[in-house]
Amino acid sequence: MPGYSGFRILTEGLRGNSGWKPAWRKAAPKPSYDVIVVGGGGHGLATAFYLASEHGITNVAVLERGLIGQGNTGRNTTIVRSNYMLPENNNFYEHSLKLWEGLEQSLNYNVMMSQRGVINLFHNEAQKNAALRRGNSMRLNGIDAEILDRDGVKAMCPIVDVDNGRYPVMGGLLQRRGGTARHDAVAWGFAHAADARGVDIVEHCEVTGMIIEGGAIQGVRTTRGEIRAPKVGLAVAGSTSTLTAMAGFDVPIETHLLQAFVSEGLKPLIDCVVTFGAGHFYVSQSDKGGLVFGGGLDGYPSYGQRGTLPTAEHVYSAGVSMIPALGRLRGLRSWAGVMDMTPDGSPYICKTPVQGLYMTAGWCYGGFKATPGSGWCHAWTIAKDAPHRLNAAHTLDRFREGRMLDERGNGPFFWAQ
C-alpha cells in the first residue's frame, strides 16, 4: 500500500480523493500466529508494531473485541509527559517520550504530537519541595524540567489566576517537552503502520478463553474461533483482571471510573497543559479549539462508562478557581473511561505465571503517554521472553517483594493513585 506523502495528498485531491485505500486491512483471523496481542487499544497496536519493526516478528494478530481505539485510548485527555520522580518510572516514560518525538516519521501517520509544555502548579512549601525533588530527579536522569516561580507561571500561562483567593500559586514544575497528541490518530497510526508490516488487525473478535497446556499458553478462544500461538500478550486495560481470570490467576488491579470533559470550540486561549495543585483539575486546548479537561477518579469500582455529578462539580470548581475566565464558557460533552488502577499507581509490563503469556496493564489514568514505550517494552519482553531494563521493575510480584513504585506515597489504595 502506498504511504502518505505530500505528493499523494496533492494528486488525490485533484482526482476527488477517490484513490485512498483503508488505513489498515480488515483482517480475518488465521488459525495460528507467532504472537497474539489481545486488545486493540494504543498499547496492543504499539506492541504489534514494535514486534514487527524492532524484532522482525510479523506473523502477529491484534485481537480487538470491538473497534480499535475505542477504549481508553479514544477517551483520554491525551497528555504526554515524562515528569516522574522515581527513576524506574521516569526512565521508562522518557524512553516513551523519545519515541513520541519521532512517531510521525516511524508510523507515516500524523499523530499530532504537540510539545506545548506541561506545568504542574504548586501552592505551598510542601508541594514545592515535592516538585523540586521530582524535577531534580528528572534532571539528574537527563530529562528536561524547569521550576517556575509565580511570575514564571504567569508569563507562561497568563490566564491562570496566580493570586486566586484561596490557594495562591507559588510556582510550577514545567516540562517543555511534554504536551498532547491526538488520541484517535495514535490508534489509527499504529494500526496503519503495523498493518503495513504484515500484522493482522482483527476487529470484532473478543477473546473468551485461554488455551493453556502444561502451564504454557497455546492460544486463545475467541468469538471468531480458536486461534493458536505460542506467545500471547495482553493489552486490555480495564479488562485485564477478566482476562487473567481466564488464564487462572489474579492481578492486583481494580477497575475505576475517570471522567473527562470538553468545552465548546474557542479561539486560542490556553497554550500549554496546566494542572492545578490545590484540587483535581487539568486542562489543555486541542487543535480544534476545545478545552479538554478532567480531574480525579469517581472513587468507586465500576465498569460504567459514565461518571457522577459530584466529581464533575469538583472539576468545574477547581477549573474556575484556577482560571476564573472559564466561568463564562461552556462544557460540551462529558464521558468516562474504565481505569485499570494498581495499588501503587505504576503499571505492569511483565511476564506472568503462565509461560508464554505477557501483559502490559495497570496504566491507571496515565497510560496514554506510555503508549509507544509500553508497546516497545512489551514487544521486547515477548520477543526475548525477558523484560528490558526499562521495565524490569514493573512486575506483578513487586508487591510480594515490597518494592512498590509509589510515586506520591498515596499507599495501597487503588482509588487514591
Binding site: M112, L269, T308, L326
Partner: protein, 978 residues
Amino acid sequence: MSQRFRLPSGGHVDRSKRLSFTFDGRAYDGHHGDTLAAALLANGVRLVGRSFKYHRPRGIFSAGAEEPNALVELRDGARREPNTRATVAELFDGLAATSQNHRGSLAFDWMAVNGLLAPWLGAGFYYKTFMWPASFWERVYEPMIRKAAGLGRASGLPDPDHYEAAHAHCDVLVVGAGAAGLAAARAAGATGARVILAEQDFLLGGDLLNEPGLEVWRQESIAALEAMPEVTLLPRTTVFGFYDQGVLGAVERVADHLPQPPAHTARQRYWTIRAKEVVLATGAHERIIAFPGNDRPGVMLAGAARTYARRYGVRAGETAALFATQDAAYDAAFALAEAGTRIAAIIDPRGDSAAMQRAREAGFTVKPGCVVTGTVGGNALRGVEIGAVGSGGRGDAVPADVLMVSGGWNPAVHLASMSGSALSWDEALLAFVPGAASQHERSAGACRGVNGIGAAAADGAAAGQAAAVAAGFAAAPAITLPEAPAPDHRPYELWEVKGRGKAFVDIQDDVTANDIRLAHREGYSHIEHAKRYTTHAMGTDQGKVGGLVGAAVLAEAREEPVAKVGLPRFRPYTSPVAWGAIAGGEVGQHFQPVRRTALHGVHEALGAVWMDAGIWKRPAYYPKAGDADAWASVKREARAVRERVGVCDVSTLGKIVVEGPDAATFLDRVYANTFSTLQVGRARYGLMLREDGIVFDDGTTTRLGHDRFFVTTTTAQAGPVMQHLEFHLASAWPDLDVSLASVTDQWAAMSIAGPKAREVVAAVVTGLDVSNEAFPFMAVADCLATGVPARLFRISFSGELAYEIAMPAGYAAQVWRAVLAAGAPHGIEPYGVEALGLLRIEKGHVAGSELNGQTTAQDLGLGRMLKKKGDFIGRVLAQRPGMTDPSRPRLVGLRSVDPARQIRAGCHLIVDGRSQGWISSATQSVVDPGWIGLGLLRDGETHIGSVIVAANPLMGEEVPVKVVSPHGYDAENLRVRA
C-alpha cells in the same frame, strides 16, 4: 426600515415593548418575547456567522436548541459568551452580539479561501500530511491550525456573575413542556405526586406556541399546573444529563434574559434532581437533507420558518420554497403564506399525498417527484435548483430567498439514551426511538415517535399518570386533552441529493457527505470511527440536525441499513452548559472552606503571617519591627524557645478519644507499639503503619483511664487516621467494644516550650504540682488553667522542656493571654509553624515530609518501636524483603559545609556521581548557625561524617553537605527531662 419582516399581529411577542440591540455594532429593534435570532430575521439580517473550516457564510438555521450555525458572541467585556446560539438567546434591551470566526468582515472573510482548498482539506487530511519536514509540525503547521481553529473568543476575564446550586427530590420529573409534557405533568400532578416540570424554553408549550387554535388549552394547562401546590414549574431550565439511579442534572437560566443579574441574584442555578420516576417529553428535532449548497444563508429547517412566523410574527423571507419528504412539514408553507410570504414551489420526492393535494388546492406550485439539486446565491440565498428524483445534475432554478427543508423528524432520545435505554429503529419514521427503559423512566410524545399534538398530549397524560402510579400514587380522573388532527410524519427515505458542490451532513463542523464516504473508503467505516475521523456530529449541536443524515450516507457507502450503522453514543450534555453553573459557589476564595483554630483572632492581633496547612490557616511566624526578614522572625522565635520560653498554637493536631473495655487491645492492633501497658496518667509516642507496612502517622497517646485513651494525630492525617480507625473497627474487628469520637474542634491546645516553661505553666495552672518529680516527662493530668478545666501534658516536639496544655476551645484565648502574661517576665515569645519546624529539624524529629507515605519505620530510625510480640496493622507486609532491604535510604542529618550556603528540601544527595537520596526538610539552625536538614540517604549510617553533594540542578545549585546523625541537638534528651 425597522423590522421590515415583522407581521403586524400574532404570535407570542409583545409589540408594545420595543427592545433595542446591536449586532456587529449596528443597531436594531426587536420585541419582548423575541429570541436574538427572531429579532435578526425581523430586521432582514440573514448572514450571521462563518463556518468552522471553510468559513462559508451561514445564516439562522433553526429556531431552537439544535442550532448549528447562528452562534454569536453575546454581550461584551467580561460577560462575553462565545458560541451562544442566537436561536435560544432571549432578547433584552441593550443586548450586544458579535459574529464569530472571520478574518476581515463577516461579509468578506479572507479565510473563505479555505473553501477553494477543499480538495486537500477533506476529512482527516491532517493525519496524512504536515509530516515533512519533521520539525515543521510544531513550528509551522500546528500554530497555523491552532490559530484558525475554534469559533468564538473567550473574554479571558474573570466571570463577574455568580451561580448557585440546588437539590430537588420529586416523585415525577417531567422533562419538556410541550403538549406531551404539559399533559404528563397535569396527569401526574392530579394524583398529588410531587412533580417538577422542566422546560429549556422561556415559554411553556413547545410546538403549542405555533398553534393559535390550541392557545386556550396551553393557558389552561399552565394555570392548572400553577394551581397545584406540589407542582414546580422550571422554565428556562435545560436538563443536561441523565445519570445513574434517577439523578438528573439541570441548569436554570435565572438571569440570562436580563442585561445583567440583579444584585444578589445568581446568573444560573444548577439543579441536581433526584426523581423516583421520570417522564421524558423532549420532542423531536427536524433533520436536514444533504444537497449541494444546503448551508447557504436562507436555507433553514421548515419547522423553524413556521415558528418564526407563528410564534414570533416574523417572515423568514419574501419568497420561500419548501423541500419536504413528509406531510408534517407542509404546515410551514401554509404558515408562511398566511404571513404574506410568496410560496415559490413545494419540492417533494413523493408522488402524491394528502398535504400535497391541500397545497395544490391552496394554489401553491407543487413539484412531486422532485428534489432540490442545488442553491443559488452568495452570502444569501437567491434561488433553488429543482430536478427530478435521481436525475442527477443540476435542475432549473426558481427564485427564492428562503428554502425550508425537512428531511423528517428525529425523536430527541438523548436523555433516554443516557439513562441506559438502548435505541431501536422505527422503520416508518426512519429514525431511532427509545427502547426498553433501564431506569425508572418513560418517554412520551414526539420523543418516542408519537407525533401530532393531540396524540402526543394523550401519550403524555398516560405516561404522567403511569409515572405517578409507579411512584405510589393512586390514579386521578383524566384531564381534558386538546383536539388536533395529526399530520403524517412518515417520510420518504431521502437523505442526500447527490450532485456537484458541498452537501453538508454536519453544518457546523463543515462535514460533507463526501467526507463520510472518504472516511469509509479509508477504512473508518464504523460510525464511531467515521465520527472521529470526520468530526461529524462533534460540534456544539452534537449532530442534532444532521447526525442521522451522516449515518445514512455512511450506511449507503457500506451498503447496509441505517439501523445497522446506528448513531454514536449520546453523552451529557444535551446542550452545552455554563462552566460557572456546575462550578457553583465553590470557586476562588470559596474553593474550599477555611478552618481556623480557636486562637485565630489572637494570632491575627499579633500580626501573624498565615500559611495554609491543608484547609487550616496557621501562623507561619509573627513578624516584629526590627526583624530584617522572615528568617529573622523565625530564628528569633526559635531562639526564644531554646533560651527562654515560647508558646505555640497546636490546636490543629487531630484528637480522638478511644473508649471502651477493648480500647487498649484496639490501640495495640492499630499502633506498631504497645499501649496496653501504658499507665493511667501517662502519654506515649506512637507509630501507626499502613496495611502495607509503610509509616502512616505518629503522635502521642495518653491513657486517661483504664478504658479511655486520648489519641493525637498529625494535622494532615487527622481525617485519614479517623477513617482508618473507624474502618477497622467496623470491618475487621466488629467484636471489639470500642467507641471513637473526634474531638479536634472541641479542644484547643498550646505548647509551652523552653527552659522557663515550668515557671510559666506553674503560674497558669492550679490544682497540680508541676515539679519534675511530681510531673515528669510524659506525665498527663487534669488541672485548672485560669480557673477553667484543662489538661496538661508533659510532652515535647522541640527538644526542650515543654508542656502542652489543652482546654475547651472556648477558653483558649483567655488561657493564651494568661500564658503570655505569666511568660512576660521570662521573655516569652509566641512562635509559629516555621519555628516549630526549625526546632524539630534541629532536634531530629520526623514530620510530614519524612512520613511521606514512602518510608518505613526502619528508614526513619524508628525500627525499634515495632513490637516483637503480638500482631498489628502493617506487621506482616513490613517484613517483605524490599521493605527491610538494608540499602534503603535511611534518615540522616545534614549540615551545609559552608554555613552561608542554603540547602533546600527537594535537593538530591549525590554520592559518587549518583543520586542516593534526597533532602526532606531544611532550615537554619539557631544552636549552631548555618543551614541544616534531614534527608534520606542510601547506606545513611556509613556516610556519617563524610561530605557529599546536595544537588539542585533545577536551580543550578550544588552544595557540599556533611552527613551527620539526625539526633543533633541534645542527643541524650536531658533537656526534655529537666
